[in-house]
Symmetry: C2
Subunit: 245 residues, 2 copies
């Protein structure tokens, strides 16, 4: 059985300030229905959680100064990237790819400067995006799932695509391994990153200059769970299985 899916932008949110309860704010404005997946852009989560930094307040280390010079980047930004990372994977061609303390592999540890109200500020990823998703889910009276999304580059493809950096109330992977296809043949390598595909889908209704930081995805009840579940942490490939460091 298949059914139609709807993706509905959440509009009319105010400029998000530190300390705002995003779940409440969204529940007041969006027509949430039981079984919806609420996808929220990382940027407003970080703003609400006070993860915005003024570059002028950052004191670059010697390592950051050297790396910044090599890459042609601001030393203050590089210092923040290093402080948010546990390992540098690549630092070349003006590109800095690290593994964050959460275990995400991405450019600049997910730090960026777009869609922030003040010049000279940048936004860090939430400290624990799965906890952020659980918190927001708990603020919403309807039984829904929450995905927190951010755009990541990909090793072998141009352009960025949204992925889930946090989720709650959703099975992040739909694992068909051991189950069978339409012909009854075993599916050997089919584990679908549902949470990432939901993040990508929701982005299609968000236009980058429109200030629409959230969307509802309706029609995915079969993927929702009563419990918060393992979160997007379950989508991180363990370093021991990583062939591309």
């Amino acid at each position: 059985m298949s059914r139609e899916l709807r993706i509905i932008p959440v509009e009319g949110l105010p400029e998000v300030q530190e300390g705002m309860k995003l779940g409440q704010l969204i529940a007041e404005r969006a027509k949430l229905e039981r079984g919806d997946v609420l996808v929220i852009s990382q940027k407003i989560i970080s703003k609400a959680e006070g993860r915005v930094r003024r570059l002028a307040d950052v004191e670059p280390s010697k390592e950051a100064l050297e790396l910044a010079k090599k890459l042609g980047k601001e030393a203050e930004l590089v210092e923040l990237v290093l402080s948010e990372s546990k390992e540098i994977l690549r630092a070349e061609q003006s590109i800095l790819i690290t593994e964050t303390h959460h275990g995400f592999v991405c450019a600049n540890a997910g730090i960026d400067a777009s869609n922030l109200p003040a010049d000279g500020t940048v936004c860090l990823l939430p400290t624990d995006p799965d906890a952020s998703a659980r918190q927001i889910r708990s603020e919403i009276p309807e039984t829904i799932a929450v995905v927190i999304s951010d755009s990541f580059g990909r090793a072998w493809r141009l352009g960025q695509a949204e992925v889930a950096i946090g989720c709650a109330g959703l099975a992040p992977i739909d694992d068909w391994r051991g189950r069978t296809d339409a012909q009854g043949r075993e599916l050997t390598a089919t584990a679908i990153a549902i949470a990432d595909q939901i993040a990508a889908a929701a982005d299609l209704v968000r236009i980058k200059d429109s200030g629409v930081p959230a969307a509802l995805v309706r029609g995915l009840k079969r993927h929702l769970t009563a419990e918060d579940g393992p979160g997007a942490a379950a989508l991180r490939r363990p370093p021991s299985e990583d062939l591309f460091r």
Copy 2:
């Protein structure tokens, strides 16, 4: 401005045989509207284009026999992977990652055995998926876009996500570089892989054992183009910019 998006499964397609005109078949069954994006699973494109192979017909080379032994894979499958590839990137932990002749980096050169009618057969990627997308688009009277999708693994994330391996009538990348955010600040690194996100979104209405190989994504007119355009080839990162070989 943002607007709602709908994703509608295309149901009732017959089992696809070599030589079938998929564009016509789908146009007869789906209620296509001007501006829709028709997303089609690679598997039925390959079937229609005669890209199914019987493993028993394959004669493994010495290289294939050795690699198969090392990886614990069937030598006939490895032979097909090698013949579809221009470079092996990784061959370890039972995993074979190559760059295909098209320039896609994926496991087993995109060859798989699920959802095929006969035991002992496997399905290769279409020879030129952008050409396949253009052909299907030309068979459909409505002005629409076509995306051909396949599920690829990702270097640092578990689970597969659908990506566009072919497209026509769509700008595959929405490039905001040089444009400005909601605060008028320049977006420096925002190029969104729209075609990949559309492929991922469409997969959310396809359940792997349901035999639903196509879906319509409605509400993306702003990304459609009059011309076929550069296709999904524009999403391949050139080897010179690839930091992860």
